[in-house]
Symmetry: none
Subunit: 213 residues, 4 copies
């Protein structure tokens, strides 16, 4: 005959509660890593009892899936309108806007990115990689359009897209691991220099576009 000695009892809307738990999970996963985090810690961080977590998410794994879904939704929403305008008049303006947009998104979501990165290292790789791949594809498509529009020039658009993606993301993660605050403007400026020069149509004195082999 068990006794449930109550402490507190706060009733909120299911959506809020779900979001709170997800937020708490993000914090704890980020602090301790996915396998380092315990459901008890997540529950405490969310200000709910352990069992409550299981009311909203069937298991620790489901928490991760929900986190991923929310992240992907937000990412796609964030860039979709930018993407839809790529290929129009001011291609370089769109590139700059996209860079700023990505930087801002990453600055806002660096915690989640770290969590997914760890997850990707161990299990169920496909799902996580998928998010990253989608970013790569998006970048590559944008570059391709720039090439076709005669705005830029690059030998291997796909690899370059991946480089851009990981240069930005990697720097972000690195800064996070250090605990450094990211200087947004400096970040954006450097990213623009990287992208603009790398996609430049001009020949470099130190490097020539390879002739078709």
């Amino acid at each position: 005959m068990r006794l449930a000695t109550k402490r507190k009892r706060v009733l909120k809307s299911p959506e809020d509660r779900r979001a709170e738990i997800l937020d708490a999970a993000t914090r704890v996963f980020c602090d301790k890593g996915v396998s380092g985090a315990t459901v008890a810690e997540i529950a405490e961080a969310a200000g709910v009892a352990k069992g409550t977590v299981y009311l909203y998410f069937g298991s620790k794994e489901h928490l991760l899936v929900a986190l991923r879904d929310r992240f992907t939704d937000q990412l796609l929403e964030h860039v979709s309108d930018l993407l839809s305008r790529v290929g129009q008049d001011d291609w370089w303006g769109l590139v700059d806007a996209t860079i700023e947009s990505m930087v801002d998104f990453m600055i806002g979501k660096e915690d989640l990115m770290r969590v997914f990165l760890e997850e990707g290292l161990s299990s169920d790789v496909a799902k996580v990689v998928d998010v990253g791949s989608r970013v790569d594809s998006m970048f590559a498509a944008a570059i391709q359009m720039g090439i076709e529009a005669g705005a830029c020039k690059v030998t291997d658009p796909e690899l370059m897209a991946s480089f851009f993606h990981h240069a930005l993301e990697g720097y972000m993660l690195h800064a996070c691991l250090h605990g450094d605050a990211v200087d947004r403007d400096r970040f954006v400026a450097a990213a623009k220099e990287l992208v603009h020069k790398s996609l430049s149509r001009q020949e470099q004195e130190s490097w020539k576009a390879p002739s078709a082999s």
Copy 2:
């Protein structure tokens, strides 16, 4: 001056045994992640009993430390001679050699990089980040030298160095997560294009170096 005082045994010197366990740990950590891996699995992969692992490494954590030490030793050895020659006559030649060297090193060590990355996400951040930071610093120093030698031009050498580092590392990890084999030559070519153009002294039509603020 160390002498090889041990006669070689038909079956396993302690050094070999140690190295075998470390290799096994690398494989298992890479497959399952650090916290996903069990000492039992590592022992089995190394072909020894669980207890034997504890004979050579005090704990699971010590395995990781040993792995890191070995990695750092190899990394430094790998690039030290290249670094020592930076600043000499053919700066761009050195850059290219460094790029190739890094790519080759990463292709050979991608498994360990993944393991450290995961670890970096949870605990004991300092140690791991240190390795990555050293690469960044090395790159930044090399760029600085190129600038001073008048070979290249870039607004933010540190950030650019970090971008290069993470572009390469990130692409590698991404490919690994996908299970894709990395095309070494394509990788090197694209990396060179990225670096050469990004460090180019020429103004781009789409981008101007900011005036000193």
Copy 3:
């Protein structure tokens, strides 16, 4: 003198509600076993909310007690009038009637019997055993009367009563566990053969009543 003071409601009087929950508990306990059943399942089977169960029964344990009470009441009611007539003229007729009565009762209540049986195996033995013992005592008393009336003969009336009881009950349970439908008439016929012959006054060629020791 109780009066029906409540007007009948269109949807569920408390008594009906209570009975419904009890019926649902019977079904679920029977399907899943007592500790295998959850209050949530019982509530759902009864078409009420979990909390409502606690409105009518203080705890899961109380449900069981209530179930037992209802069962005992029904059992006693079922056989009491038969018992009251034992010892009269047609003893064998009463035996047969009792057998049929027991069989019918068991066929109607096999689900509950199973539940109590499980319960008896774990905790709170006294209560459950009590029900079974009462049946044994009833049987034994009846046999004793038959002996005194000269209608039958048996060496150990108590053990024989227990045998009869468990032969019938055990067969029932066994059939239930198999999911077999019980053939009532075949069951009754075989039970009568068992009882009549076992209580027979005649010596068997293969067996002699032991002389008083």
Copy 4:
């Protein structure tokens, strides 16, 4: 970094240890019921740590399976040689021997029987019932042989076999639930009376074999 604070350490042969855990499981399952029992209790009763139980049995469920296997093996071994001789010269002698054998077996195994009975009530019914059914079939076959040999007579051998089985088993369980010690000789004597008279070829004054309907 967990510390395993050791208390004791006793090394035995795996078979002994396995048997000890199985014995402990029998005791605890019997006391608390299968779902009432905890692995912790079983481990303590066996004098081992919780984890040790999982070294020998993959889960609580596997303990049950192992228990069943051991029981079935012992039962079959116990009666097989008796069975193989049924149908020979002294049929009634064999019946008596079988009764004594069953009683002795049950007295030795009553604890297990109770455990299986409970299990049978909730999950995975088939396996347990199978044991019981095999006993029924064995009895029925023996009766059939007796009939063919002209030694006995009964209308429904199968049902009668089941009655015998459950009369004996049920009485045993009942006695166990009471905590009563079973008087083996009294039990055997009453069982013989039950079986001999029930299988008697003589007509009873109170009961006639039904004519073929």
